[in-house]
């Protein structure tokens, strides 16, 4: 600074001189400098805009692809659901309506039996009373005839009447009793008919409700096939839910696998040695891990063979006979491995006891192993866990499949939002550079305010002169 101010004996003059020396070339190259700033700013602005557009295009392509993937996954899932519903209908029809002919026969038999009973139970009209004819005969008798004999006849009629009435009443009671008996016999038939019809009604209701469900699924399937936005939105949200739920379940499974690992890693040292290493890892740990991974693989194959999951289309496409064989083979391997794990868990407990006893001996503490009588509980628990966990891990296949399927969509969604943010940031940067160019131009002009002001004054004066000259002319 002292050098700069010392170029003349007067510092103020020196400063002024420096200002003139700096401002003069700046003013002279102002046009070029402005152009350079403008070019640089616009160049960067354009580059960022182009990059932003490219990212936006990629994002749109990715969104389209993701949509396709989502729709394809949704279509596949819906097909499976509909297929399953049809299977259920088939099962209902097979189970309940397959014996429809026998039901029909039972109904017909019941109706025939009721009809027969009904016919037998028809009320037979009582015979016309025999005394009517006798009264007619008495009425036709002339007065000349003996009135006494009429009295006798009427007496006989009365007796006969009483007798006939008694017989008729007893016959009537017997007939009524028989009819009631017949009607009573009809009751089980009615009940059977009612039960049969209720059963048929239930089957039909079940079919109707299934058909309603299928209708709903079919509607959703059509929406998916037509690629409607509503269907995409529903699939997208359900995919996210599936992703998080399956991730949560997988975390639990990882916890289970870790416990399983700790159960067998220690006794595994008895088999492969406690100190040998592969890389930086203990061979015993690697062996334990391999066993667990083999168990999980067997579980996956078992689930695939049972057609619960569809991670490996090859297994699903196998002939049923081979598939069943595969089920038995994988289950047997899993069972054996579970047995091995239970054995290892037992061995772990034995080793632990041994180690505790040795430690107690080395510490000179003889009573440390006194609680060993209750240790069978932990041993049994460990063995149980060792046996159950491999089978429990089998079910990892289900959340794993969901996770894998939803992962594609979720990663796609994540990439889309990332690209969208990137495009926005690039566009923002482009604009920032554009306005920075304007700002730099203004900043460049700040020290040149004196010559610029003079230039403006001179221009204005020249304009005024020009106008005055033109006015005079």
């Amino acid at each position: 600074m002292s050098f700069m101010l010392g170029i003349t004996p007067w510092p103020a003059v020196s400063a002024l001189l420096w200002i003139v020396l700096i401002i003069a070339p700046l003013y002279l190259v102002r046009g070029t400098a402005h152009k350079t700033i403008h070019a640089a700013a616009h160049g960067l602005h354009r580059s960022f805009r182009i990059a932003s557009k490219a990212v936006s295009r990629s994002e749109k392509n990715l969104a389209l692809r993701n949509r396709d993937v989502l729709l394809a996954a949704g279509r596949e899932a819906k097909e499976r659901i509909i297929e399953r519903e049809f299977d259920r209908i088939n099962e209902t029809v097979r189970k309940d309506l397959a014996n429809y002919s026998s039901l029909h026969r039972a109904l017909s038999e019941s109706i025939d039996s009721i009809e027969k009973d009904h016919q037998q139970a028809v009320d037979v009209p009582p015979d016309p009373p025999g005394w009517v004819k006798a009264v007619e005969a008495v009425a036709k008798m002339s007065a000349a005839e003996d009135r006494n004999s009429v009295g006798n006849i009427l007496g006989d009629i009365h007796r006969s009447l009483n007798k006939a009435h008694k017989e008729a009443m007893s016959a009537y009671h017997a007939a009524s009793g028989k009819r009631h008996q017949l009607l009573r016999r009809m009751r089980p038939g009615w009940r059977q008919i009612q039960q049969t019809l209720t059963k048929v009604g239930k089957s039909v209701d079940s079919l109707l409700s299934r058909s309603v469900t299928i209708d709903r699924h079919m509607q959703e399937y059509e929406d998916i096939v037509h690629g409607q936005d509503r269907a995409v939105s529903v699939l997208s949200s359900s995919s996210l839910v599936n992703f998080f739920v399956s991730a949560f379940v997988l975390c639990i499974a990882i916890g289970g696998a870790t416990i399983n690992f700790s159960l067998i890693a220690r006794p595994m040292a008895e088999m492969v040695g406690g100190t040998s290493l592969i890389g930086n890892f203990r061979t015993a740990d690697i062996a334990a891990l391999v066993i667990i991974l083999v168990e999980i693989s067997m579980g996956l194959f078992l689930m695939e063979s049972l057609r619960i999951t569809r991670l490996f289309p090859v297994i699903g496409a196998l002939p049923d006979k081979t598939r069943v064989r595969m089920i038995w083979i994988t289950f047997s391997i899993l069972f054996l491995l579970a047995g091995v794990e239970a054995g290892l868990a037992y061995m772990r407990e034995v080793l632990l006891h041994d180690e505790l006893a040795t430690s107690a001996l080395l510490r000179g503490d003889g009573g440390a192993t006194a609680t060993a009588q209750y240790m069978w509980i932990t041993t049994a628990a460990q063995m149980g866990m060792g046996f159950i966990l491999p089978f429990a891990l089998t079910f990892v296949a289900i959340p794993l499949e969901t996770f894998v399927h939803s992962l594609r969509t979720v990663v796609g969604l994540f990439a889309i939002s990332l690209m969208r943010t990137l495009a926005l940031a690039l566009r923002l940067f482009g604009n920032v550079f554009l306005y920075l160019g304007v700002l730099f131009k203004q900043v460049y002009d700040i020290p040149l305010f004196v010559p610029l002001w003079l230039e403006e004054r001179m221009n204005r004066a020249a304009e005024t002169d020009g106008l005055m000259t033109r006015a005079r002319q």
Binding site: A269, G274, T275, L277, L351, T358
Partner: protein, 212 residues
């Protein structure tokens, strides 16, 4: 894809076939049985038990007594190279502890103290075992007293060894002139460090945590 597999295989081979540096520990403990120091032998048993509890599979441990001529296999009371299997290790440890208990019961005082001979024996044993970490424990007052005719004016190669003096008790003469005690410690430290060894002294037997 082929390249990827090849790279993975090479990485695995490098990881597996790298220079196999032994990670096990070898411990050789010398117990001074000369004169009145025999009274301290119970403490030595405690240290041995502690050491046993700290050692793991494939480690080596030997206990030898310091007597008139200690450069001899006959002075080794118990030795063991622990198996790779944990159950076998526990068995070996129990057996070792039993042998030591018997030795403690039957130990008799030796007329002379040949520490250097014991040190040579320890170095030979541990070098033969080829353990990754080599530790020599000297349970003694470090007062060497050689019988006439025994030559022990030898530099013991202790590169890579850690020598720990335990329970270095003060003698009556040390109490009268502490310089003697300090000089003795200094002399041993110099001897060990001269040939590349690492020297430590632990007199507080309650604080054995950093022993191994």
């Amino acid at each position: 894809m082929k390249k990827l597999i090849l790279v993975a295989l090479v990485a695995m081979l490098v990881a597996c076939g790298g220079d196999a540096v032994p990670r096990n520990t070898g411990v050789f403990m010398l117990i001074d049985t000369s004169g009145t120091y025999t009274e301290e032998i119970n403490k030595a048993e405690q240290i041995i038990r502690y050491t046993l509890s700290k050692l793991d599979a494939t480690d080596s441990f030997a206990v030898a007594r310091i007597d008139t001529g200690s450069f001899s296999e006959k002075d080794i009371v118990a030795k063991a190279s622990f198996d790779d299997r944990p159950s076998a290790v526990n068995r070996q440890k129990r057996l070792f502890a039993e042998k030591i208990s018997e030795f403690v019961k039957t130990a008799s005082p030796a007329p002379y103290t040949d520490i250097t001979g014991g040190l040579l024996q320890a170095v030979e044993f541990l070098n033969e075992k080829g353990t990754g970490k080599k530790t020599i424990l000297i349970f003694s007052d470090l007062k060497e007293d050689l019988e006439e005719g025994y030559i022990r004016d030898i530099d013991v190669e202790l590169e890579g060894f850690e020598v720990i003096a335990l329970n270095v008790t003060k003698l009556r003469s040390d109490n009268m002139d502490p310089r003697e005690y300090l000089g003795r410690l200094e002399a041993w430290q110099g001897r060990v460090e001269k040939t590349g060894g690492h020297w430590r002294v632990i007199n507080d037997l309650d604080g054995l945590d950093g022993l191994l």
